[in-house]
Point group: C2
Chain length 142, copies 2
DNA sequence: TCTATTTCCTATTGCGTTACTAGGCTTTAG
DNA sequence: CTAAAGCCTAGTAACGCAATAGGAAATAGA
């Protein structure tokens, strides 16, 4: 599986936050309830996003999470690469097997490289605002 | 990771067999040595390919494996789908999470569907003969 | 200042999959 | 009959994923 729950949840949460942008800071509890995801698990995922400055978290009463940029400035690719670690389709392209000793003569390496580029290019071409349902970015705005 | 060692090894072996087609049946031992893969592990992989009729195996002295079709009639996609089970990039598209109860309203589902199509279409468009090194399909031919 | 609320941080655990390994059985050519 | 080969069923060690646990630190409001 290329993308695990961690990446899928992260993306859903980012879309959720984009849709509820106008409501200011959103507490984790609210997101978890809306998305049907365990609070504790979500905590780990959001921590990763905060550390990478994709989200800002604030604690205490009235705290919660907000996007640090407008939705059109996030790509799906960067969100998934961050939370998954890598989007490489095979270990050969992921540092592990890098310099596999056979790479010079490997007849299949080009397939993996092309596939890798295909995947990353597509996901880097989709921005967060493209996933926000029309007219749902305006809740709480009178 | 989308493709594990099982799929990668399978593909390398298929290319190996395509390159040595003219030599008739090739014993596992020879393939394993040439590719640097454990004989026992390869056995499992080749068994899968034989059961799917992509290879023919014959035992006994003089036995070994051969392709059942010309290389241009295999696609990388079918080889990988067989050995990996599925090439779906997310569990949502893989029967597991199928009918995820949220799929009607899921804002990210289209991304996964597009990605899935992209991956499968690309891999189904690459045939085995495209991976065979030029002039290497003619060993043993005088 | 106290308290409720909320994020932040570090571990740990159960479970399934992956990557192999082991051993024996069956078939085939010479 | 025998050596060479594939076929078949298990087993196992290690790893990553998905989730849980427990508490520390910050913040706003009473």
């Amino acid at each position: 599986m290329l993308v695990s729950t961690k990446g899928r949840y992260a993306l859903r949460v980012m879309v959720d936050l984009a849709e509820h942008q106008a409501a200011g800071r959103i507490p984790l509890k609210e997101i978890a309830a809306r998305q049907g995801i365990s609070e504790k698990y979500l905590e780990n995922i959001l921590a990763t996003l905060v550390r990478a400055n994709m989200l800002s978290g604030m604690r205490g009463k009235g705290g919660g999470y907000v996007l640090t940029r407008p939705p059109e400035q996030y790509t799906v690719g960067e969100i998934l690469r961050l939370t998954e670690g890598s989007l490489a389709p095979v270990a050969c392209l992921d540092g592990d097997c890098k310099g596999c000793s056979r790479s010079d003569e490997c007849p299949t390496l080009d397939v993996w490289k092309n596939l890798d580029k295909l995947i990353n290019d597509y996901l880097d071409g989709v921005t967060l605002d493209a996933l926000v349902a029309p007219n749902e970015g305006y809740d709480y705005v009178i």
